[in-house]
Structure formats: C-alpha cells, structure tokens
Symmetry: C2
Subunit: 260 residues, 2 copies
C-alpha cells in the first residue's frame, strides 16, 4: 500500500512540524490507523508532496514532521466545470469524478429545469478533498455556491471558451436552422481550441439538468460568442454521465492526458 | 415526459399484440402507472422502436398493440468492455454507464488482483436493460459470466484491437524500456484505429482492478499483437472512472460520437 496522502493547507518545507486539525487527526489515527513513526504524504498545490513521519499521536491531536519532498506541485489544467445540481447521490458522484478528472473549479449553476437550487458546499468540499488525496493531484478543486446561470455568465472572461453540451440533441439543433447553429461532435469541436502543451489556456464545460435547457436558455447560450455547442453522441446520457464523459474527452483532446 | 421505452424480445410489427412478461407488466402498471389507452415505446435491436397502446391491464398481466414504427434500429458500435469486477456498487455503476456509452458486450474478467471473482449476471442484465431503455439505444449490452483473464484472451479475434488501460502508469512503463513499450495517450493511440464512419470495425477495452495488473499480467498483455497499451493521464483513476472515461474517449475518437 502506498503511504496515504493528506491535503494540508499549511506551508510545507523540510523539517516543518505540523499539527493536523482535529478531523484529520481522527482520520489518520482511527481510519488509517497510523501510529507514531508511521509515514504519510502531506501535499498542497504550492509546495508539492512530502514524506512525513508521525511524531505525536493523541486522541484528538496528531503532529507530523516533514522529512523530504517527494514531488514538486504540478498545476492541473485551467478547466472549470459548471453543472446543474441533480439528486444528492449524483451530485456527490459528479464532484468526486470531476476531481479525479482534473477540474480546477466546480460551479453549480441553477437553470430553469434544475431540480436542486442549493448545494452543501462544505459536504462537496470534503468529497473533493478526499478524491484529490486518492487521485494524486496537488490541489482540490474549488467548490462554489450554487448560482443562477445568468449570474454565472455575467462578466464571463471571453478568453475562456464554454463547451456547452446540449442533450436536447439533433432535433432541437435542426430547428435552429443549418450548420451555423449545429452542435458539433465534442472531439471535433475541441480540436481548434487545443492549446500548446505548455497549457496556459483556459476552458469551461457546462452540463445542464436531466430535463435539458429551455428553448430560451439555449437561445441565450448560443448567442454568446464564447459558447461552443457540442454533441455527446446519439444516446441520451444522465447528467452525471455527461459530466464524466465530457471531462474525459476534454482532458484527452485538450488537456493534460495528451503527451507531456 | 416522453413515452416510456421498453426493451421487448418478441418480434415487433404493425398491429402485433404483445403480452408483457410479469415483471414488465408490474413495472409498467405500478411504477410507470400506465393504464388502458396509455402509450409506450417497445423496441429491440432487430425491429427498431414502436409506438404501442395498452389494451389490457390486469394485476399481473398487460397487453399492448403496436401502432406504428417510430425509428429503425441503429446498431451501436462493435465495442466490447472487459473489466475486473470491483465492489458491487461500483460494478453496478460500470454496467449502467457502459450501457449509456454504447458498449455492445460486457465481459467481467478475473485478474490476479481482482477482489470479486463472480458477478450476478441476472442482476447486471436488469441494470443494463433499464439503462438501455433510458439511453435510447436499441439493444442492451450482452452480459457475460466472469472469466479468468487468460481464458477471455484465449482464441481472441486478432482483428479486434484490445485497448488496455494500465493504471500502473509511467514509472512501470519506463521499467519496460523505451518507447516501444510505452503506453501512449488514449486519444493519440486511437487515431490510427479509427474506422470509416460506416463503422464495420471492432474494438475492445480492458480495465484492470484498483490494484492494477501484476508484472506478469502486464508482460503477457504487452506480448499480444492485438493489445494497444494506453494511458489515461497523470491522475490515478478509480476502476469505474477509468471505464467511463475510456469508453467516452473511444466513442468520441473512434466510435459513434463522430459526425454521422
């Protein structure tokens, strides 16, 4: 078993002695069953990943000392996920999988047909931290409060294309008249957006609720110059499947799954 | 709400009167609450999708009459999924999502580090049928009994490349020595395999257990001429995430998410 990873917000440097917070101390002591002398891997997006040894273990407290840096931090691609919250279980799955798939920010947006108007940010943060620890990334994605879609688009940075997966599909696209409004297959639509492998570029993905966007929302989205409508194939996907699928294709065609 | 879809194995043709089996009758009557005169959409991979009207509703029986064909059957790409069974919840998720993502056959394979040696085929079949109904495909994927990996590869049709996602990652690849054995990024590795859009080609995906393949298994796999080792990026993915992610990239680069 590899030594467990732990996302630590404090500064990490050689010789630093760090007191874990109560929840972390309990997790490391009770769930991971580490004792004095045991090793773990604290990490964060600034200071990378370190090897640390447990020096103090009490019921609600634990201290570790940093021995050596194992890896320098690598930023994940500058990729935002905007999604319409779904049922709790599916929303949890979206946050866990978006973390594994390297989204940097997760922004719940409320659309006309969204069934859940709020999210528990603290709950989703703890899912994201745990997934970040498992998936070997250096940061946890930042989780935002749920925002109405128009507000989330207000003041949008036009240099960040917004990939918009419209599950309404072909029939609705035809009604928009011709190729100009047509949603292209996602891999094809991403090709011209792909940045150099240095990865300074930005991107965002928007996935709507199970019921899709309303005609008014689609009209509004398609009128925005930074919106890129894409199709996710001939089958109807559940919202969580669409999120996971689109993020995977984005990372493999645009993001950090490409050759380094 | 669109009319509910129902996968029916019997022949579908105009005017046919069909008796639903007991489980389907209960589902349509009790869960979907359809009564005499209500409409649903029977479908299968031979006869496409039909509009049908309920003519008889009893406690454990229901009859429908087919009114008109709505869509001709479209085959899904000839894509097999081989995966090492994981915990029940994750295995269920894999079958549901592989159905949405258009896998034609689902073959559980037992590897050295596989934690579950059997699957409940009937349970997975019912998950696959329900997902097929929701996702608007015409067939449900065929579910196979769990088989040891070597037996699953025995007599393999060499015209079906086997995409092999090796979560052991870069370090292990380096140990294999040089570019010849290196796992290429999945989108890049798929490019030369992409068939014409007529789609007569075949492909398979193999995803290992959370603990990865053993060195012996990797050596065996890499020695096979039809095996294509691929990488799924710099982060560690859970088994179910790897399945969903790889199937999504396959459909978008190789399969039926491309322009028709």
């Amino acid at each position: 078993m590899p030594e467990p990873r732990l996302l630590i917000d404090q500064d990490l440097h050689a010789g630093a002695e760090i007191a874990l917070d109560e929840a972390q101390a309990r997790h490391v002591g009770t769930v991971l069953r580490l004792d004095v002398g045991g090793h773990l891997r604290p990490f964060n997006a600034r200071d990378g990943e370190w090897r640390a040894r447990v020096t103090v273990r009490e019921k609600r407290a634990m201290r570790v000392v940093l021995e050596a840096q194992l890896r320098q931090a690598q930023p994940s691609p500058d990729l935002d996920l905007l999604f319409a919250p779904v049922k709790r279980h599916a929303t949890d799955l979206i946050v866990e999988k978006a973390t594994e798939l390297g989204a940097r920010r997760i922004k719940p947006v409320v659309t006309r047909r969204t069934i859940a108007e709020t999210v528990r940010v603290d709950r989703l943060e703890s899912i994201a931290r745990e997934a970040a620890e498992q998936t070997e990334r250096f940061d946890a994605p930042e989780i935002f409060e749920a925002t109405p879609l128009p507000k989330a688009l207000d003041g949008w940075d036009a240099s960040r294309p917004l990939i918009y997966a419209d599950e309404a599909g072909d029939e609705a696209d035809k009604a928009w008249g011709g190729a100009a409004g047509r949603a292209r297959p996602i891999a094809e639509a991403l090709q011209p957006l792909s940045p150099s492998l240095k990865g300074e570029e930005k991107l965002a993905l928007l996935i709507g609720p199970e019921g899709g966007f309303t005609p008014e929302e689609r009209r509004m989205l398609r009128a925005l110059p930074y919106v890129v409508p894409v199709s996710l194939g001939p089958r109807i996907l559940r919202a969580e499947t669409a999120v996971i699928a689109a993020l995977s294709v984005i990372q493999s065609v645009w993001g950090d799954w490409r050759e380094a």
